[in-house]
């Protein structure tokens, strides 16, 4: 037990310190994000039924973008096109796309 406790403490610490999700690679995200521009790259572009502007996503916070894509994937956010897009990406793809888009800062 005396030997087990430090080992357990170490494991818990290591788990607590592990990043919540894989780090994104912006370079890998660039080609993956090409599809996004079909809707998010057109100024004033609107979603149909219901009609509203497709959101601006360049320069958005990285973790928020990861959450958004995962929420479409798991159903916490509902949008047929976005669900289809997000479902086609792995967690690493999502991290990479988010890293790339977040780096496109507004001036």
């Amino acid at each position: 037990m005396r030997r087990l406790l430090p080992a357990l403490t170490g494991t818990v610490l290591a788990l607590a310190m592990a990043p919540a999700h894989a780090a994104g690679n912006a370079e890998n995200g660039k080609p993956l994000a090409y599809t996004c521009s079909g809707c998010h790259g057109i100024p004033e572009y609107r979603n149909a039924y219901p009609s509203y502007h497709v959101p601006k996503i360049a320069g958005q916070n990285e973790a928020y973008l990861v959450n958004a894509l995962k929420a479409y994937k798991n159903g916490d956010r509902q949008h047929p096109t976005m669900t289809a897009q997000a479902s086609s990406f792995s967690d690493q793809d999502i991290a990479d796309i988010a890293a790339y888009l977040a780096a496109q800062k507004a001036k």
Binding site: S37, P55, A58, N61, Y64
Partner: protein, 127 residues
């Protein structure tokens, strides 16, 4: 005589419709006040969406400044109805126990205020 009158009336109606579509619906000053107001026992929008939505208190908090007003309205209404699931935002807009529930007018005003701010996010251009 009848035809020109009708034509003018139609034209006026058409122009009115076009103007109405282009005009912001919300009240920017009222939206700013609501965004910054701290309700009893609650937190203001501004306590996490810092600097008029230009910054987030952490990476999970989206940048809202300069975002399209109608998208922001949809997001807030979806949080309120529960169609969009986020524990913090569902509670914040009154979807959980009705505390501090945002009215349609609140949502329209807040969206107009945020959309009027300088862009923190922009249209994505692939290069």
């Amino acid at each position: 005589m009848r035809l020109p009158t009708l034509a003018i009336a139609s034209l006026a109606l058409f122009a009115g419709t076009v103007l109405a579509v282009g005009a912001p619906k919300g009240d920017i000053a009222a939206g700013k006040a609501r965004f910054e107001a701290t309700p009893e026992g609650g937190q203001s929008c501004a306590s996490c969406h810092l600097d008029g939505g230009a910054k987030g208190i952490d990476g999970n908090t989206p940048l809202l400044a300069g975002q399209y007003a109608d998208y922001l309205e949809k997001a807030l209404k979806d949080y309120r109805s529960g169609a969009r699931v986020n524990v913090l935002m569902n509670a914040q807009v009154g979807a959980v126990d009705g505390t501090n529930k945002l009215t349609d007018a609140d949502i329209q005003n807040i969206a107009a205020y945020l959309a009027s701010q300088p862009e923190a996010v922009k249209v994505y251009r692939s290069r």
